[in-house]
Symmetry: C2
Subunit: 184 residues, 2 copies
């Protein structure tokens, strides 16, 4: 079975699980909500949504039943299984690894569901993520120090990552304010 979760993969599957944790829904509806609520963060096609739902079903994270409609096509109504709920809640409490893209996409999604459920959790996540990013910056700075001056492109790459992570620290503060999680 080998548990193929490198934990680096960022996938909208948790957004789908999160929407299903709120209430059962069919694929088209889930896709709609993903687009309207987090459409500037995730850019996925309808067929990709169905791909993920199919996988989640074969993995036993969700179940489906068919709902007949007299005029429009039938729908598959999906529902979380206990395993699926656990998977979502575990994810909800796991900090995002210190990657620029992962934070923009996955962390923002996590924050979305955290705030919807419990604003205190959202504040904790931001604090925790801030620490993760600070450590990440320190680690990359070390790598930069070890990187010989003739490695110009490796150095440029590292410098860009550091600058982008610093921006993320500012942005995390901005999140707290924008979402009304702190008294200013």
């Amino acid at each position: 079975m080998s548990e193929h979760r490198p934990s680096a993969s960022i996938s909208p599957e948790f957004a789908l699980l999160g929407f299903l944790a709120q209430r059962p829904a069919h694929g088209y509806d889930l896709h709609q909500r993903l687009v309207t609520e987090l459409g500037e963060i995730w850019h996925i096609r309808l067929s990709q949504t169905y791909n993920i739902l199919n996988r989640l079903e074969t993995q036993g994270m969700i179940t489906s039943r068919l709902q007949k409609q007299d005029k429009l096509p039938d729908r598959h109504i999906f529902e979380l299984t206990p395993a699926g709920l656990k998977r979502f809640e575990d994810w909800l409490h796991t900090p995002t690894p210190c990657s620029v893209r992962a934070i923009r996409v996955e962390f923002t999604t996590r924050l979305y569901f955290a705030r919807a459920g419990d604003p205190r959790l959202a504040r904790e996540l931001i604090a925790e993520q801030t620490r993760t990013v600070e450590q990440g910056i320190a680690r990359i700075e070390t790598a930069l120090g070890r990187c010989s001056p003739d490695q110009a492109f490796n150095r440029l790459g590292l410098q860009l990552r550091i600058a982008q992570l610093r921006i993320i620290l500012d942005w995390l503060k901005q999140c707290e304010v924008t979402l009304g999680l702190v008294e200013v």
Copy 2:
């Protein structure tokens, strides 16, 4: 044949083509060069390198011949075909789409090969990429303007992207200086 190049895909295949444009080489060596020259930019496994080489060969971008070694295992020596060289050179002159990760990874790689071949091209690429990023920022700012205030997470996502793209503008200037492409 359908030409499946969404042009958004960022892949180390062009780095491999670029190294092969310099001289024929075998897979292990290509992987070594990728790691030492651009290892902070691309993080790929040896097996991934071979995957790409196999694909490039079936696509007719490279050819291989077997080189016997008496002690160590045999090697496949890869060489660019004219089609492969064209593909690489087309890529070398194509600006990277305005995505943070694509610029950090793909543009940096392009710059690496551009400078190795012709520093003037490197300077042009930076100028062109700067314009692309400026346009991208403007586009995202428009999207942000159209994004209603209750779309807090979509707005946060857009704001982060804008901030990161601004950093990239600074970084592009830094590239010019670091690589000695302008008289300061």
